[in-house]
Structures are given as structure tokens and as C-alpha cells.
């Protein structure tokens, strides 16, 4: 394996539910290299979203280490780790949700421009990213003026415009019909390949998961190749 951009070592996370501790992740470890993709599947409540939250620093593990592009984090939390996670999310980690990825007050182009700006890129290529995703004509429209599929393409344009090292996608096609979902997934994988970034994709969709290089079934805590 080439140098990994994402290293997860013995990651554990527990919650308290109704006063009872609920273990979501136990001693989870995996590596992901540049250009690789990992599908995270599992039943509802198995910890897919929690894992993605941990991988971008929005939640803190009870145990274990996470290393992203050489930056290493443990279960200890301090202002330094907060600042490093924030910087990573800003420049190196792109996050895509099932919906509500866009600022409703901004046009699609301005959304891409804002995300790109936060990542430290100069303005000027926003419309190009939208065109590459097939929604250049919708650049001046607002999120509530486009379809769900177009909005998800815009969300992908935002992520790729920031040139991330890792993309974390949480059910990115979950709210779309089959055809639209396939189109969005095609865009996602094509551009991930082009950009060479790593992809962690949480999904219920086994067909979508099968398009990734690796599969992590949290229900079975099994990590292995898809084929």
C-alpha cells in the first residue's frame, strides 16, 4: 500500500443511552491510501455516522488514534487538537451529507466559491467545477431552485473545489431516486479517481458500496476487499 492518508488504530467509542452504556465501535483499525475508497455499511445505529464524525474531529474517540495526512490525534482533547482538526477540515477533509450541504442564501456558484475560499483557494474556478458536474447552467440558481440531484452535484463540486485529501460522504445519494443516485455516484467516483483523494463512503446501498475498493461492515466489524 502507498503511504496512507488515513490511519485508524484501535478506535473505540461508547455512548450512554437511557443511562446504559452502548458500545458503537470497538478496537477498529484500518488504513486508506491516496486514491482508495472505503465503503462503510451496517444497519442503522451501527456507528457509520459516528465513525465519520470521528474521522473529521467532530467527535472524540474514547480510545485509539486517528492520523490524517500525517496529523495524528488521540482520545485526548485540547485546544491544539481542536485547532488542528479545524484546519484539516478546512483544507484537507471534504464532507458530504445526505442533504443540507449548501447554504440556502447563496447561489450554487457562491456556495462553491465560499467552500473553496475557506480552503484557501483563490476565486475563479467555481463555474468550471459546476460545469464538470453537469450543472454549469444552474450556477446562478439557489439551492431551493434546483432538484435534489443537482444540489448533491453542487455539494460534490464544493468538495472537489477545495482539493481535499480525504472525502467523507454520509449517505450522499440516500435521498435521491435510483437514476439520479447513480448519476451522482458516477460523478463522485469519477472525480475521486481524477483528483486522487481518498474516499470514505457511509451507505446502506450495497450496490453503491460495491463500487468502493474496500468494505467495512460495522454490523460484523469486518474489513476486507469488495471482491
Amino acid at each position: 500500500m502507498a503511504d496512507p492518508v488515513l490511519v485508524v488504530e484501535r478506535l473505540s467509542k461508547r455512548f450512554s443511552s437511557g443511562g446504559q452504556p452502548v458500545t458503537v465501535l470497538t478496537d477498529l483499525s484500518f488504513n486508506l491510501a491516496k486514491g482508495e475508497s472505503l465503503a462503510v455499511v451496517g444497519r442503522s445505529g451501527s456507528g457509520k455516522s459516528t465513525l465519520l464524525n470521528l474521522l473529521c474531529g467532530l467527535q472524540v474517540p474514547d480510545k485509539g488514534n486517528i492520523t490524517v495526512t500525517g496529523e495524528s490525534f488521540s482520545e485526548s482533547v485540547n485546544s491544539d487538537s481542536d485547532a488542528r482538526w479545524t484546519e484539516l477540515r478546512r483544507r484537507s477533509i471534504g464532507v458530504v451529507f445526505q442533504q443540507a450541504n449548501l447554504m440556502p442564501a447563496l447561489s450554487l456558484e457562491d456556495n462553491v466559491r465560499l467552500r473553496s475560499h475557506l480552503a484557501g483557494h483563490a476565486a475563479g474556478h467555481e463555474r468550471g467545477w459546476l460545469e464538470r458536474l453537469g450543472i454549469g447552467a444552474e450556477a446562478d440558481r439557489y439551492p431551493d431552485q434546483v432538484s435534489g440531484g443537482q444540489a448533491q452535484r453542487a455539494a460534490l463540486a464544493m468538495v472537489f473545489a477545495m482539493a481535499p485529501a480525504v472525502i467523507l460522504a454520509d449517505e450522499p445519494t440516500g435521498s435521491l431516486d435510483r437514476n439520479t443516485a447513480d448519476e451522482v455516484a458516477d460523478c463522485l467516483f469519477a472525480m475521486q479517481r481524477d483528483s486522487g483523494c481518498a474516499l470514505v463512503l457511509a451507505t446502506h446501498d450495497r450496490e453503491l458500496a460495491s463500487r468502493c475498493d474496500h468494505l467495512l461492515d460495522l454490523s460484523a466489524l469486518h474489513l476486507g476487499g469488495t471482491d
Partner: protein, 751 residues
Amino acid sequence: MMLVRAFVSHYRRHPFQLAALALMIVLATMLWTGVTVLTDQARNSLFQSEEAVAAGVHVVRTDGRPVRVEDFAELRMAGLCVAPWLEVRRPPPAGRVIGIDPLAMGCFGKAAPGGNRGELDGAPFLDISAAVRLAREGYDSRLYLLASTENETLPQGYALREFSLGPSTGELADSFLLNLDALSLLVLLITGLLVRSVHRLGIAQRQDSFDLLFRFGVPGRRVRQLLALELVVLTGVCVLPGLWLGTQLAAILGGGFGQALNSLFDVNLYAGAAESLPWQAAAVMVLLVLAVCLVDWLVPRRWQRAVSSARGRLLAVLVLFAGLAGVALAPDLAGVFAGTAVVFVAAGWLTPGLLALSAQKLSDGTDLDGSGPLTRWRRRELAVMFGHLALPVVALQFAMATVLAVQALVTTFESTFDDWLAQRLEAEFYVEVPAGADAGLAAERLQNLEGIGPWHRVTRGEAVISDEGAAGEDKTAVVDLFALTPVSELVVDWTLLASMERPWQRLAQGAVMVNEQLARRHQLELGDTLEFRVADTEMGANIVAVYADYGRPAGEILVSGSALPEDFSARFESFSVNPGEWAMAEISEQLADVWNVSDVTVRDNASIHALASQVFGQTFLLTRAISLLTLVLAAVALLIMSWVFFSTRAWYFRLLGIWGLPAGAIHHQLRRLSVTLTLAVTITAIPLGIWLTWVLVSRINPLAFGWSLPMDLYPLFWLELGLIAVVTGLVVAYLMRWQLVQRENGKQVKS
């Protein structure tokens, strides 16, 4: 039952929204009740005071000595209707009390002062025996004998005089009441807007539930019935504590208010705290809440849509100009009030859209270098907020404009009144000429006192003017006549609204001056010849000046005493004296000697001035307090609304955090967003406030009272309001940040 449960499930999940609506109804009721109770008390007190002293005259001894109990006995034995009125002045906060004899008052044919309850309820009216006990404790006291105007013949040695315990300021009281009425209406308007805004936000958030109920087969009419029922129950529950709080507010504010009325207007708050809850105010509030919350069902949807359409905005501009023209040109008060209401409606209609448009334009023009994209986002969010928070934004704008206008009016009033009072009380002392005494002899004696300062003799009486005017309208009127002998240097600094050259010299040579009310009422101008009759003498003189005045609504003519005809009968005479090298006690002795009385009544004008100024400040404390409370209510409403509204936008701030914007930078954006919002409202409130000030001083006052006030601007108030806006914005930002932190505790990014 299940339907009701499903219906209210929203508030079970969002109890804060229910609490916010309830709180807003309670606060609105409190403010409205407080204003209503105080205004009613002021009006009732004025009415009762007029009733109490309706006789308008009291009996004085012609030898100048104060009346005593023996005089009362003698007059009663002579079969005359007189009643003792023992005034005892105690230092604040006890204040003045008045001892009266209800039995003696009975002959006046009306109830005794203190109301129609047939009993005395304590301060300021006491039974005369209690007042006598206070007088014997050493407090300054004076006995008056009120008399009925029906008494035509008095025993030898007595005369009737007008009963007045202080300067006549009836018009200031009327002006004050008019201000309170206007303020009450504005408070009602603002509270209505605030209640509607909170209710509408709740309805918007429950719309999905209503849609679901509709899909489950519940008719829309049934949903509306339940909504109305919910609102009736909530209003019924919330109005009661609001009423109680309002009466408490009135009781707190009423203390200073009562003292002010007592001292300045000779009006006493007889009733003190409200005897019962003001149910009329409650009924108005219930109707208001139901009307503002349910108006959407009464107004056709296409009308509602038209309001926010481009054609609707054009119509609003036309309405605005119509209102402005109406206020400027209306010939009467009703027209001015109607025009003002129209302007406010148009302003409220246009403001949120204009602010949103401005934010949008600013956003479009944002330089996209540097932090441009983030700035563009913030400005777009601002535009969205202006749209969604339209009602509380308008309410805050109205409240701020009201505060600005009231502050400017009060400050102008204070400074003008202070100047006016200083001019009228220019002399150090004021000596009342006793009944039957010869003022001419006293003038000769003063003339011969070497080293005495400036002095003049004041003679008051009546004149009749007859001005048929161009339209042939008969404008014959009895006006006050005010004569000065000589025209001393004590008056030469008077504020003259218009004058010819050397007006005071011309006055001494036989010209006249008129007060503003007379000039306005009869369209008199400088250089006009004023024809008037004094006693049986027809007179005519050039008008050389118009002077500012805040009393004497009938109008007043100022002449030199030397111009008065022989047969003129003075209604009142006094001397204004600066003693110069003499002690005032020595001058008093001289005058007592001339008039052959044991003592003369001398007033220290400086202390009167100080007291009047102090009391005037107290009078407007109430107006200021209510307008500030309205502002606080509007600000609180904006806080609540912003907070609730923010719960629908919090995700997008959280998204910024997910995109890697540090928490400090997000909070900075929050602060800028909320402070910009409140400051922008302030900026729109300033022109409205200035315009409202102009309406009050230049349109309402002249139409209501015949005199105007100068139109002064007070930029310091604008800064104060800006500071309040910044503080409000920061508190909103803090609440938003708190909400954001609360949500972040969950650390859930699952969409």
C-alpha cells in the same frame, strides 16, 4: 381528543415557543394596561380636580390679611356657601395635603373633592381636623375659603378672587394627555405587531403538522377552529397576570406622576392605585391578540400576496407619500393623526423589504477577494433574516422612532419651558397687590426708592378683539390683556418668534405684541393694526412682535400700561421686583406701609423656577419610562424571535464549522450579523423618529393648542439608540452562540 393531542404536540416538543408567545402576551398586556391605567388616572384626576374647584373663586379679605376661621364662621352666619380648604405643605416625599370639610362642601351641590364615594381616602385630601393637626406641628399652611360663584353679595370687608393655587398650565396638562393618548396608540400598535410576529413564527413551524393532519383527513376549517380555541385559551390565561402586572407598573410610575400632576397642574391622583383590574384594557388586548393573530384568515390570500409583490411595494410608496402629504396639509388634528397612521403603515410595509434589498445589493457588490465570499454569505443571511423577522423588525423600528420622538419632544419642551419660565420669572421677587389696594401708589413709592433694581407693574385684564377677516367670518373674541408699567429691562430678553426693529421701545410708545396663539388663530402678522376694545374704549395699534407662550389659549395682547384707558378694570395686579441695593424685607415694609396692611405676599421667583423645573422633569418621566419600556419590549421580542428563528438556521453556522471555520470566527460572524441587523433597524428608525418629532412639534401642538415648539435635533439620542442596538445585537449573538454550543454538544453531523 386525539386530534387535540396531535394538535398541541408541537408545543410539547417546543415548550419554549409556547412560553415565548405567552410571555409576549403577558408583557404586551402589562404595558398596555399600565399605559391605560395611568392615562385614565390622569384624565380622571383632571376631571375631578375641575369638579372639586369648580367654584373657581375664593373669598379674600379686602384689608389684605389672610382669612381665618372667624371669617369662615362670619360668612356662614351670613348664609353664604363657603368651604374651608386648608393646604398644608410638607417636605417631599410627604408632599402637600389638603384638609377639607365634606359637610361644608355639601352646599356646593356636588360631591366633595376625593371622588363621589362620599368618603376621604387619605392623601392628598384629609378631613380638615387631620390637616389642622399637621398645621399645628409646624408645617407651612394656608387657609382658603372656597366660595360658590352664586354668591353675589358679600359682607363688608370681603371680596371674591379667582381660585388658583399656582400658574395656569391647563394647556400643558392637555398637551401631556394628548401625548399619552398618542403614545398609548403606538404602544398598542407595537405590542400587536410583536404578538403577531411570535405567533406567526410558531404557525410557520407547525405548518408541516397541519399539512399532515390535512392529509389524514382533518378539514382545514377544523384546524383553524382549534387554532382559534388555543389562542383564546392562551390569551385568557395570559391576560390576567398581564393585567395585574400592568396595575403594579402603573402604581410604581404613578408615584412620580402623581407628584408631578399635583405640583404642576394642581391635579391630584385621587384614586391612587386602580380600585379594580381594568377589564376594558383586558378586553382590548384580547381583541387585539385575536385580530392580529387571526387576520390572515380574514384577508384574502391574494391580498396578502399582493402586499409583498412589486406592485404592492409601489402601492406602499404611494401610500407613504399620501400619508406625508396628508400630515403636512391636514387642517385638523384628526387628519394629522390619520396621516401619521398611514405613514407608519407604509413605513412598516416598506422597511423589511428595503432592508432585505439593501443587504442583497451589498452582497452582490461584495469584493470577492479576501474574505469576500464569507462576507457575501453573511449579507445574504442578513437579507433572509430581514424577510423572516419582518414583524419584530418593524416593531423595533416603531418603538425606536417613538423613543426618539418622545425624547426630542420632551427635551425641547423642557428647554423651551425652562427658557419661558426664566423669562416670566426674570425678576427676583414677585409681590401680589392685595385686594382693594392701590397699585399706583405702590408704583410711585418704588419709583422713589433710590438704588432699587429693575421693576415693573403687571396688570392683567381682558380685551375684546373683532376681526371679521377676508371671508367675513366673525372672529370677535375675548382675549387676555397683559400690561407692563414701565416696560422694564426685565422683559427685553423674552423669546420673540417674530419682531420688528426695537420692539420694546415701540411697545412703550403704544404698539402691541401678541402671543403665538393669538397670531395663529387670527392670522395676525407683524405690522398689522390690531383693533381691540378695552372696557368701553376702542383701541388700535401696530403689532411689533409675536412672542412664545404656553398658556392662555384665548390669546394675549401685551401693551404698555401707559396705554390703558382710564376706565380699565384690572382683574389682577402684581409687581415684579429686583430689590437692587435694598433688602426685599425693606421693600415689603414699604409696600405694606403704602397699602396700610400688616404684611404683603412676596414670592421668591428663583425657588418657584427651581420647583417648576423639577416638577416638569417628573412630569415627563412617565412618558420617557413608557416609551423606554416599549423599546425594551420590542428588543426582547427581537431577541426571542431571533433566537427562535436562529434555531432554523443554526445548521448553516454549524456547517461553517464542519467546513473548517474556527469557532471564534463563527461567533464573530454571528456578532456581525446580529449587530448589523439591529443597527440597520436603528438607521431606519431615525428618519421616522425625526419625522414624528416634526409632526408632534409643528403639526399636532399648533393644531391642538395654538403654539408650536422649535424643531431641534438631538444626535446624542441617536447615538444612545445606536448603543442600545449594539447591546441588543450582542445579546442576540450571545443567545445564538449559546444555542450553537448546546447543539454542538451532541456532535451529530448526520443529516
